[in-house]
Amino acid sequence: MRNPRRTEKIAFFFLFLATLLIVIPVGLIVVIIIQKGLPAINWQFLSDMPRQGMRSGGIFPAIVGTIYLVLGAIIFALPIGLLAAIYLSEYSKDNFLTRIIKLAIVNLAGVPSVVYGLFGLALFVVFFKFGASILSGALTLGIMILPIIITASREALESVPDSFREVSLSLGASKWQTIRHIVLPNAIPGILTGTILGLGRAAGETAPILFTVAAFYLPRLPKSIFDQVMALPYHLYVISTQVPNVDEKIRYGTALVLLALVLFMNLIAIIIRYQFRKRKKW
């Protein structure tokens, strides 16, 4: 006879071990980056131009560049993604075409980011002649995060109980009024969460901006959306591999700023989700 207590203990041990194995690398990454990067962080590092071929000075243009790119991506991707999600979850009939579209969106989320970079290069930089610019980079990142936004928005919309839609219709509201006034307000937190996760992804990716916008070394701020900019992930790549003799402190400082930016965005997502769960009573 097997002892159920013992098998349970063994199972617990392995489940716990697996969980620990996930936590340890994450913890190590954060600790190492903070430990090595924190000494570099000061006001000058955050607000100054890079100097001496990026070996000293700050990373201000890269921070600004990343913020521009992320904002541009979201301005492009959020409206289109949200409208597509509303169409898919509220209006589209369940037929072959709809299923193909849904499948395509899921697959789009799995495309490697460097492929988006190449696509952005071909379409925005070359075909539309936007050149390597904030516009090209933001559009490329926007397309990359579209599937994330569409999927999160669809899930948020579909999690609103049908009974709300039926009540609204039974009160004499049109379908659009129902979506606009009843479904959307209940889905907004989920949509925002997805959007912010998309933001974090856009902020951290290097490959899509590599061919479309990122400047190797550009110690000034962009004047228009047709200028190139520096961006944090690419800057990190450059100072880590392309420029000799960069102080370790600066490299880890840059990584820390990028990490903090992404974690900050995720934190906002978590807070919104928390507020949402508190209010959700159905």
Binding site: D94, P161, S163, V167, S170, L171, G172, I182, R279
Partner: protein, 251 residues
Amino acid sequence: MEKVKVEGLNAYFSNIHALKGINISIKEKKVTAIIGPSGCGKSTFIRCINRLHEVVPHAKVSGRILFDGKDIYSSAIDPIEIRRRIGMVFQRPNPFPVLSIYDNVAAGLKLNGMKRKDDLDEIVEKTLKMAALWDEVKNKLNASGVSLSGGQQQRLCIARTLAVKPEVILFDEPCSALDPISTAKIEELIFQLKENYTIIIVTHNMQQAARVSDYTSFFLLGELVEFGKTQDIFTAPKDKRTEAYITGRFG
């Protein structure tokens, strides 16, 4: 006076034939109860009357439903207009969770374009009084609708339905999620409402049907087995199946 006349109504979900050739006429300002075991098509039937059945994917309807003599399924009729005039109270109390008590009652009016605060205030107060909820909520109109108890929530939903000034109110098992005291309040309310409204109530509870309704129809497996005055149905049913059901031998 008949308010709603159903002629040869068939309803389907994909290939399930949920209602089979229903003929019934609903008298104005009376309460008509729909009884029958689960899955007999009671809810589907009333959801055909306010054209909510067709909202479900792959659902179909055929036949005619005359509302004041006009077929609500004719192509000239806007389902939105029909739903405004034929209100519905659902099985589970379902106030909108993001809206306050006030806004829940005003929701239908706002969706229909009424904006003036004075008018809204007046209707909200009037309908909450009609729903016998005013005294309990008048000091917390801005609290969330879901902060109320189940029975209060259901009366809030009734107020929300009354606010759009329907002529017919459909109740879909309105008390099945409520305790006996809340149930008694809702039944009392239905009794008062029939002075001004035509009421159709689906119920699982035969005592409830006997208490609140003037007419009763018994549905079984998508067919209308028997329809008549409630008193007759409960004391002298003509059909053996009706008799078996109301005496509790099945269902």
